[in-house]
C-alpha cells in the first residue's frame, strides 16, 4: 500500500500545540500532511497566539472553543499534552494520527524520509495478530508471512485498534534514564511492525500514535494527571495510563495493538535533570497500576467500548482510589470523558 492507496478522507491528523510557533513543525511535515485534514488543538494554558503557516487544511481549537463544546469546568481536562484529546473528541473521521509538535520526519536507513502518516494508516488497515506471536513479525507485509507452526485458524487476524510508532534521536525515555545517559540517542532503526500479544502490558507513548477512532475512540482517555504535571513528556504520564486502559480494553474486545514502524525524529526539548528535580509521582503510580491491570477482568457483559471504560473507571475507584487521589481523579475523569464523548458525538 502506498500513500496513493489510502483514503485521506478517512483520516484526521490531530496535533496538540504546546508550542505557539508551529511553522517549523508543519513545514517539515508538509509533504506528508498534504491532502489530509488537520486538527490543531492549542494547550488552553498557552498564552501566545498560534503561528500556523499557509497551505494546510486545518481547523484550530483553542480554550474558547473547548469551553463552548464541553463547558468551562471540563476544559481543564484538556490542558497540557491532554489538549490533543479534545481533537479526538470533535473529529468525525475513522482514523486519527497524532504526533507531538517537537517531532519531524525521520530518515530510514536508505536515507528516505519516512511517511509516518501513511505507515500508521497501513498498520491500522491491516489485521493485528495478538493471539499468537509471529516470529517474522508482521505477516501481512510484503516479503513476509506466517511462519511454520502458526495456527491456521488465527491467520485472518483481528481488527487493529492502535498503531504505536517509535522515535529516533530522542527516544521516549523517562527523566532518570535520560538524565543518567545524557548523550544517549536512539539510532537503531528496527524495520518491523508487530502486534503486542494479548494480555501483555506495555507503555504506550502519545508522542507518535494512531488509532481507529470508530473502533476504540472512547478508550483513549485523558485521565491520569500526576501532581505537578508539566509541559515536557518527562513530567507526564497521561499517555501511559491511557495506553494501559486502551490495551486492556482492546484485549477484552478482541482487537489488536501494533508497535514498531513508523519512526519520527524527536528533537531536544526540556532538560531531563531539571525534570528530575520535581518529585516524580509517576513512578509510584505506575508501580500501583501494574498489579491492578494484571489482575483486572472486565465483565463479559461489557461489549461496547464506552461500557468498558465505565467498568474500568469503577474498578480504578474501588481498587486504587484509596492508594492515591490521582486515581480517584482519573476514575472521575474517565466517567466524565464518556459523558462528553456521548454528548458530542450524538449531536453529530
Amino acid at each position: 500500500m502506498s500513500s496513493a492507496e489510502i483514503n485521506k478522507n478517512e483520516v484526521d491528523i490531530v496535533i496538540g500545540a504546546l508550542n505557539a510557533d508551529l511553522t517549523q513543525f508543519l513545514t517539515s511535515w508538509k509533504s506528508f500532511f498534504s491532502g489530509f485534514h488537520l486538527i490543531v488543538v492549542k494547550d488552553p494554558e498557552l498564552k501566545e497566539e498560534l503561528n500556523i503557516p499557509e497551505g494546510f487544511d486545518v481547523d484550530v481549537y483553542s480554550k474558547t472553543d473547548m469551553e463552548k463544546v464541553v463547558g468551562a469546568s471540563n476544559a481543564t481536562m484538556f490542558s497540557g499534552y491532554s489538549c490533543r484529546y479534545f481533537g479526538y473528541l470533535v473529529s468525525k473521521k475513522k482514523y486519527i494520527v497524532s504526533i507531538d509538535d517537537d517531532c519531524v520526519p525521520a530518515k530510514d536507513p536508505k536515507g528516505f524520509l519516512v511517511d509516518a502518516v501513511t505507515q500508521h494508516v497501513i498498520n491500522l488497515e491491516n489485521p493485528a495478530t495478538p493471539l499468537f506471536f509471529n516470529t517474522l513479525y508482521d505477516p501481512y507485509c510484503e516479503g513476509a508471512d506466517f511462519v511454520r507452526g502458526y495456527p491456521f485458524s488465527l491467520r485472518s487476524g483481528v481488527p487493529c485498534a492502535a498503531s504505536c510508532g517509535l522515535w529516533l534521536n530522542l527516544a521516549d525515555l523517562d527523566a532518570p534514564t535520560q538524565a543518567l545517559k545524557t548523550e544517549q540517542r536512539n539510532t537503531a532503526y528496527v524495520d518491523a511492525v508487530m502486534t503486542v500479544p494479548a494480555k501483555a502490558m506495555l507503555p504506550i507513548s502519545g508522542i507518535n500514535i494512531a488509532f481507529n477512532r470508530e473502533l476504540v475512540g472512547p478508550a483513549l482517555v485523558p485521565a491520569l494527571r500526576i501532581a505537578g504535571e508539566g509541559k515536557v513528556r518527562w513530567e507526564t504520564l497521561e499517555d501511559v495510563w491511557c495506553g494501559m486502559c486502551l490495551k486492556h480494553i482492546s484485549d477484552h474486545l478482541g482487537y489488536g495493538v501494533k508497535t514498531g514502524l513508523p519512526y519520527v525524529w524527536r528533537n531536544e526539548r526540556g532538560d531531563a535533570v531539571e525534570s528530575l528535580r520535581k518529585k516524580w509521582e509517576g513512578m509510584k503510580l505506575m508501580e500501583k497500576s501494574v498489579p491492578f491491570f494484571e489482575s483486572l477482568k472486565l465483565p463479559e457483559t461489557a461489549l461496547k467500548v464506552e461500557d468498558c471504560v465505565i467498568e474500568l473507571a469503577k474498578a480504578v475507584r474501588e481498587q486504587l482510589g484509596s492508594d492515591d487521589p490521582a486515581f480517584t481523579q482519573a476514575a472521575d475523569a474517565m466517567v466524565k470523558w464518556i459523558q462528553l464523548w456521548n454528548s458530542v458525538n450524538s449531536s453529530g
Binding site: 511454520r148 507452526g149 488465527l154 521516549d172 534514564t177 524495520d191 502490558m201 495506553g243
Partner: protein, 362 residues
C-alpha cells in the same frame, strides 16, 4: 536477493566467550561441510554431532573441530530401552545431544545454515549474539517498545515500571533466518520464490502468557535452566507426524518458562538458510499437525502448572500427565508422546544425576 557472508580470511575468534561452558549440537545425515564457513566463529567450541539415518555411513567432520559423534547404535547403547523416546529419521534426534551434554549452554544449528550478513555487509557471529542474549536478562512481564532494554544504545522507555527493570534469567534465545524463511508446506507451495530479505535489528522478550512457533534451526538455551523441557518429541520414522518437533518443544518450554519466571528471547541473530526443503514431502509430514495444532494451541494456552512444580522435571512430568489426559482423545499418538515425555525425563535424570540435575530458580 540476499547472499550469505564470505568468511574466508576472518580469523578464528581468539576470545571465545563461554568456550568451556557451551556445546554446539548439530543433527545431520549428510555431511558437515557447512562448518567450514562457520570456522572463525565455531571452531573454539566443542561439537556434539547426532547422526541420524544409516549408522554405517561415515560423517566427515572438517579438520580442526573438537567433537563427539553419536549415531543410532550409540543412542540405543547408551539409553537402552529408553532410546524409544529419541526420534529416528528426523532431526528431532538432536535432543539426544542436549541430554548427553555436560555443559551449561547449548547452541543448535542445522547443517544447511550458513553465516548471514548484516546490513553493513559484515558477517554475523550468530553464536556471539546468542551468548549475549542468554547472559543478559529478559523482560517478560511488561513489553518494552524499544525492544531489548539491555542492548547497547537501548533502554527501558518512559512508563516502564522500575520494579520490573531487573528482569529475569534468560532461558532461551531464538534466532531467525534470512533467505529461505521457515514457512509451512502450504505457504511454501503458494510462495515458492519468497525470500526473507528483511534484517530486523532487534532482540525482544516474548511476553509471559504468549506462545510462539519455536524453530530449532538457530537456537540456543541455558541447559541448566530449561534443558529437560527441550524434548523434541516423537517424529519421523514410524510416527504420524514430522516437522513439529521444535514446535512441540517450543510450546512446552514456553509454558514452563512462564511458570518458573524465566525469559525467552527472539530476534537476532540471523543465519542464512540456504536450502528449501521439498514442500510436497513437507506437506505429508505436517499434514496431521496442521489440524492437530488447532487443538494443541488452546491446550497449551490453558495449561496451569501446580505451585508444587518447582523444577523443570516436575513441570514436565505434570505437563505429560495433562497431555495424556487432554490430548489422547485427539489421537492415540499423544498417549505415546506423553509416555515418551516421561521416558525422556527418566533418561535425562539418569544421564544427569541429581548432583548436576537441572534445577530452576523458583
Amino acid at each position: 536477493m540476499v547472499e550469505p557472508a564470505n568468511t574466508v580470511g576472518i580469523p578464528v575468534n581468539h576470545m571465545p566467550q563461554l568456550k568451556d561452558e557451551l556445546d554446539i549440537v548439530i543433527p545431520t545425515i549428510r555431511n558437515l561441510d557447512f562448518l567450514e564457513m562457520w570456522r572463525p566463529f565455531l571452531q573454539p567450541y566443542h561439537l556434539i554431532i547426532v547422526q541420524d539415518g544409516d549408522p554405517s555411513k561415515t560423517i566427515a567432520v572438517p579438520e580442526g573441530f573438537d567433537y563427539e559423534l553419536y549415531n543410532r547404535n550409540d543412542i540405543n547403547r547408551i539409553l537402552g530401552p529408553k532410546a524409544s523416546c529419541i526420534s529416528f529419521k528426523d532431526s528431532a534426534c538432536r535432543c539426544f545431544g542436549y541430554m548427553v551434554s555436560k555443559k551449561k549452554y547449548i547452541f543448535t544449528i542445522d547443517d544447511d545454515c550458513f553465516v548471514a550478513k548484516d546490513p553493513s555487509g559484515k558477517a554475523v557471529n550468530a553464536l556471539e549474539q546468542h551468548i549475549k542474549n542468554l547472559l543478559c536478562p529478559s523482560s517478560p512481564f511488561f513489553f518494552n517498545t524499544l525492544y531489548d532494554p539491555y542492548r547497547e544504545g537501548a533502554d527501558f522507555v518512559r512508563g516502564y515500571p522500575f520494579s520490573l527493570r531487573e528482569g529475569v534469567s534468560t532461558a532461551v534465545s531464538h534466532g531467525l533466518w534470512l533467505n529461505i524463511p521457515d514457512y509451512d508446506a502450504p505457504t511454501q507451495l503458494v510462495k515458492p520464490k519468497e525470500r526473507n530479505t528483511r534484517y530486523v535489528d532487534a532482540v525482544m522478550t516474548i511476553p509471559k502468557g504468549t506462545l510462539f512457533p519455536m524453530c530449532g534451526m538457530n537456537l540456543a538455551f541455558d541447559r541448566e535452566l530449561i534443558g529437560p523441557a527441550m524434548y523434541f518429541g516423537l517424529m519421523g520414522d514410524g510416527q504420524p507426524i514430522g516437522r513439529y518437533d521444535d514446535m512441540w518443544a517450543g510450546w512446552c518450554i514456553k509454558v514452563i518458562c512462564d511458570h518458573l519466571s524465566l525469559g525467552v528471547k527472539t530476534g537476532l541473530p540471523y543465519i542464512y538458510h540456504s536450502k528449501a526443503s521439498n514442500p510436497f514431502v513437507n506437506l505429508k509430514k505436517e499434514y496431521k499437525g496442521i489440524f492437530w495444532q488447532e487443538e494443541i494451541i488452546p491446550f497449551f494456552q490453558n495449561v496451569k502448572l501446580s505451585k508444587e512444580a518447582v523444577t523443570v522435571q516436575q513441570c514436565y512430568i505434570e505437563l505429560s500427565k495433562m497431555v495424556k489426559e487432554k490430548l489422547s482423545s485427539l489421537d492415540p499418538y499423544f498417549d505415546k508422546l506423553a509416555d515418551a515425555m516421561v521416558t525422556w525425563i527418566e533418561a535425562w535424570d539418569e544421564l544427569n544425576p541429581p548432583a548436576t540435575a537441572a534445577t530452576a530458580k523458583a
